[in-house]
Symmetry: C2
Subunit: 110 residues, 2 copies
């Protein structure tokens, strides 16, 4: 029997959604935030540089898509693609685990 080794695709996937704030961005879009300002407001501690970078990375990976709505003024929204939607069970299982095992911090901290 060959020794176990790490699944490359699992590792790549975790690098992608485990990057700081990426999971938060994905989970908040699941919760219904689609506009940049709403996503930013929902994630304490994130700054514009980081949020813009994560949105670009997630779009480039195919997990979210940027929609430009033909409103006046033009409105931009971020939505999960099918690939992104299928992260739902991962997010749900991690939420379940976190609620069982991770204590709430005593006070808000950076």
């Amino acid at each position: 029997m060959s020794p176990p080794s790490v699944c490359t695709r699992f590792h790549i996937a975790l690098e992608l959604i485990g990057a700081r704030w990426s999971g938060a961005v994905i989970s908040i879009i699941f919760k219904g935030a689609h506009r940049y300002a709403d996503i930013k407001a929902a994630i304490p501690g994130i700054n514009d540089t980081m949020l813009a970078r994560r949105l670009r990375e997630l779009e480039s990976a195919g997990i979210i898509e940027r929609r430009v709505l033909a409103t006046s003024p033009v409105r931009v929204e971020y939505h999960l693609t099918e690939m992104g939607q299928e992260l739902r069970p991962v997010v749900d299982e991690l939420v379940t685990w976190a609620h069982k095992w991770i204590p709430l911090p005593e006070a808000a901290s950076a």
Copy 2:
């Protein structure tokens, strides 16, 4: 209705298992590697400094435990605690997702 916000515990959980190599370490212990050398051999690209740090962090978080066996010479093994074992559904769902959506790299790369 209040606007959505990121679940703090979800965010903490993802910071923990999403830290570079942490998920790989957890998944390889699930696969049956328990000794330092076996864990290291299973994760291409990880170095001793990083592996030792991740093992300490995961132990400190309560996800793995370090067992010192009274053999001669003394043998050290790393095992998942109950908290760690319960990450199984998260890992399984992410593996499933990765196998569907993440293409295999053409060649091994750092």
